[in-house]
Amino acid sequence: MEAELRKKRIWAFVIVAFLAMVSIGTYAYNEYYIYLSVYLWFGFIYGMCLQYGRFCFSSAFRDLFAVGVPRMAVGVMVATVLFALVSAFVSATGLSTFHAAPTSVHAVIAGFIFGVGMVFAGGCASGSLYKTGEGNGVALLVILSISVTQAWFADVAGWANKLVPDSWHQSAIAKGLPETINAGDGWVDQYLAGYVWDQPVMTYANMMGQSNDSIAGAFFGNVLVGVIIPAALLLLGVYIIWSRRGFLNKRKKTNPQLGFKDDWAGYWSMILASKRTAIAGLILGIFCGLQMFVTQGLRVKFGVQNAGTLLERMGHDFGISVNGTVFDPGYWYVTTQEAQWVGWVFNKMGAENMDNIYFGFVNGIPNPAINPADWMSLALIGGAAVMALLNNEFKFKKPTLELATWAIIGGALMGIGSRLGLGCNVGAFFVRVSQGDVSGWLFGLGMIGGAYIGVKFFNWWTERRMAKEFETCDI
């Protein structure tokens, strides 16, 4: 037992040493690599936090509906509020890297598809990354499924063009994008340029007549109105429906006269019920905000707006978009870099996938070895692995046929939901809500609906399987 633990600790050390060597070695080769290392170390911290707090957005809503556990809903709200507060400081100094997304019903539909998928898959996009770090083969399969589905979906044309409304087609062509992109061909291209880009971009600060980078806009509009009040109300609803009765029943045993004070104590008890989750939420929230600050600082230092320029300066010109950009959000993001690495593989296998908006016009498909956001995701897996190894929770798990099926279906739904919603539970929900982007809550609303349907299905599925077992035990 001791020898096994020691071996795991050595592996944890090896991972940290490897990542440190990557950072130091690449920096010695070219100072621009520090930009990629920032992604790497923030990813590493996210991975450690997620594993420590068992922080999975999927369980925030799923466990409420399935087993009445509010732990993760609380954790996600704590992290969101803290991220919002730190981000408000960054926004007010004019150093935010965030751009709000278009708002319309598409965010709800995308969230719904994503929500069903994350329950089927057994974890959200970020949860699957950290669980891969725990040695979970099902989670790895989920990542593969999300990645392949997105890379395919972003470039699907031919028969899919027939499903595009003419108004989208005309609107996409009218945007006058470069000929190499051919915006009138491809379902996602016409969805983006012909529909999504025509929708209004809204933040709570803007709706109240304030700018996002003013102190009033950042703290009052985007944080208080856009995050703190809705999060507190959401948690109040969770407390009343799932937590209140159990808490007050316990209290009644010592004090039969209950009042408002007891409800207040119950609300706080629910928030502090899982210290691990609350601590992880707190650290995640703070570091997510800091990443924006550090990345923007480096952009100013190097005189660039996007990592594409840095890659070109370093002599890497393959896979850069027609605008000279690559995917470089400057904050935590999960799904686009997953689509990119498969997009890069497809391209190397002969696919012409730089003629679409997603890869060719915006994000590019740089070699995964020099893709900043890929450094973040790989380091996130590394950080989770280190935490799992140190706590003796690392275990290689081969997927069974049943779980592999759910993983592939769930991953595919999450992949499609991500592309429709322009992000996943992190990019389209966590980050956008924290920045006061109205579309963030809409995506979340859809995710809640999707999670509810997913749980309904699994309740039916497990009921069937348990019934057979109960029969043999005669209970």
Partner: protein
């Protein structure tokens, strides 16, 4: 997934290899079937399910009598309230 009666008042639920939300859903369903005072030994290897099962037991009043862990596998003994 395996659920069996080990002896009078003692049940075993093995959900090793399963990821969320299966272990917690199976545990909830198993606990709903056994009688008050009965013990359910749950075997699982998905760490995040442990957090959910613990909170679920705290809410319902079921007591986790023992928690053992070896090589990434968790073995919990739950007494139904």
């Amino acid at each position: 997934m395996k659920f069996e009666k080990v002896s009078d008042g003692q049940y075993l639920l093995d959900v090793g290899g399963y990821v969320c939300p299966h272990p917690q859903i199976y545990t909830k369903k198993a606990l709903s079937k056994i009688n008050s005072g009965d013990h359910l030994k749950v075997i699982f290897d998905n760490p995040s399910s442990g957090e959910s099962i613990a909170t679920m037991c705290d809410n319902t009043g079921d007591e986790i009598v023992s928690r053992d862990q070896e090589s990434g596998k968790f073995i919990w003994d739950i007494e139904k309230a």
